[in-house]
Symmetry: C4
Subunit: 203 residues, 4 copies
Amino acid sequence: MGKSRLEAFSDGVLAIIITIMVLELKVPHGTDAAALAPLIPLLLSYVLSFVYIGIYWNNHHHMLHATQRISGGVLWANLHLLFWLSLVPFVTGWMGENHFAALPTALYGVVLLMAAVAYWVLQRTIMAAQGPDSLLATAVGSDLKGKLSPLLYIAGIALAFVDARLGGGVYAFVALMWLVPDRRIERALGRSGSGAAGRRGNA
Amino acid sequence: MGKSRLEAFSDGVLAIIITIMVLELKVPHGTDAAALAPLIPLLLSYVLSFVYIGIYWNNHHHMLHATQRISGGVLWANLHLLFWLSLVPFVTGWMGENHFAALPTALYGVVLLMAAVAYWVLQRTIMAAQGPDSLLATAVGSDLKGKLSPLLYIAGIALAFVDARLGGGVYAFVALMWLVPDRRIERALGRSGSGAAGRRGNA
Amino acid sequence: MGKSRLEAFSDGVLAIIITIMVLELKVPHGTDAAALAPLIPLLLSYVLSFVYIGIYWNNHHHMLHATQRISGGVLWANLHLLFWLSLVPFVTGWMGENHFAALPTALYGVVLLMAAVAYWVLQRTIMAAQGPDSLLATAVGSDLKGKLSPLLYIAGIALAFVDARLGGGVYAFVALMWLVPDRRIERALGRSGSGAAGRRGNA
Amino acid sequence: MGKSRLEAFSDGVLAIIITIMVLELKVPHGTDAAALAPLIPLLLSYVLSFVYIGIYWNNHHHMLHATQRISGGVLWANLHLLFWLSLVPFVTGWMGENHFAALPTALYGVVLLMAAVAYWVLQRTIMAAQGPDSLLATAVGSDLKGKLSPLLYIAGIALAFVDARLGGGVYAFVALMWLVPDRRIERALGRSGSGAAGRRGNA
């Protein structure tokens, strides 16, 4: 079973998710700066979600690069991940329109958490299909970031009820943690071709 | 005539269908749990439709994998299937927004039924283009699920007028029937490469 | 310059056009048959446009199949065609929501006419890039359908002001004319591989 | 790391951007010419943005054609470009709906400016990944258009506050400057295959 259509379909869904979020930025009626002001929290939440979808696309790209065999389980684990990511535009809009209120900010974190869990399940399913000594298993290694992220999301969800800015800050911190290039990965990649490609783990 | 563009176009349409459904989840105005409550039936119908489009993508993927020749008739039979699937976001929204009322739930079943018929027509058209001893004809075999599904949809449509939850339950049952992996297929696949790839039939 | 990205981009745009048209089918508020009735003209115009975009995708697919060289001019002639097709969802919605009123029906025809002209320009541009003895030039041949369609669109636009049903009928007739398989093409295709692939011309 | 998925994802995002802009053209309620009149500035701004996205797709296509190696930095520089381009539908709608008022027209220019900067950063990042003697570095050369465009955008932004038509005129002029085919590029392309492919620079 080929992985090219899996990649093409995932690329399509992620491209649509990342682009339709901008439809939440409704064109304002006024033409002055005051008309733009209410859009600023929406733009902020859009930027955060754009970066997250970008991270997922990036990691997905690396993980499948290190994948040789696709099973029926992998197809469904992949759709499961896409399902949670498809809810990102909704929670982005709700959080942004309500200026980072408590519940919307917490729900945003829940969707991030579920997507991280779904990514971990997908990674496990792919590794199970490849066998214990696969390229991907070696590449993922201890996967520190992947283990830390869900804990941070849970902290963010709890903090959202204290002060939503704290919750949003935690989500932004996790995104930055994934954005900062990990020199060791690039080195490993340079050494073994696509060997360490999957190590980037789940956001 | 190459099948790669047929796959690419179908992937694109299915990716868009599966993603724009989420646009029906309108961002609520309130910021408390009460504001989310009316969205729960919409979310439920979204999950059901997400799984259905996923099943169709999955089966479409397998069927074309076992296909060698594409004729003009196949292109149009494929567009016919995509037409019915393109109506899924509409009926999903109508059924979800009206909390699984009788007529919307029945119409949802009608679209599922027509999509199943269109899938069957596509399968027949591909098999006719390949000849009687084709990989796909062997793979599809008796196609029990494919024959059972339309009957169940008809039962679901009728039951929707008795109690819409019964209709919805039948649709969910058919989806589960397709989701549960069929070990014999995976075995056959393992034996003959892509041999049994098309057996998954129509949802 | 490779043609694969041109195909991928065109597939993407056409897949989005064909799918976002369904967003014009707004979910009705009522749950009875009366709530669906006003959607019937919209559904009719959606079906007509779906078939047209399908024909264009089909013909585009064939034309590029018989194309070897892509120039900068071809890229822009292709974008010009996509521009006119991108207006199809707008005129479809306007014509459908107004129950095939005179001006919306005429404007629908104008967009079809401009798309046909753009297709013809694209075909000419590709042929110019390939040289006079190209596969495509031979395949297109006298291109009777391609010459007849614009005349019929103009007749349809004029008739829309007499009775919009006449205009809509002409557009439907042109679509049927393109849908009916042309046995000679399939034969020629069978003979020369992809030789006659471009003959389907412009809709 | 393969560049095919980078191209596929970018194609998807650009195809969606170019197509969802048309959703800003809301179907009018009336059926006469007067109902269409308010849409004319929207259509004009749509045409301008369609051409700009077309130019970016075109140049992106050429630049990646001359690219051999993709690094993590390139992936993110590419996403950064797509982010600014994803804001084009929003500023297009705001500028069009307000009949080219001062601030919306200026903001349109700001997004064009930021996209041009992002394109330049992407070009630099790709060149850094390829080494100083790369195909792309040679092809880009002095990149006059790429240096002139940002200056013209800044002029357009300033002029928008004097008379928005002047600002819009400058943006249209820059688009035309990129549209007019550069014979030397086509010649260089003909000579060296894909050698000069990247010279088109940033819009």
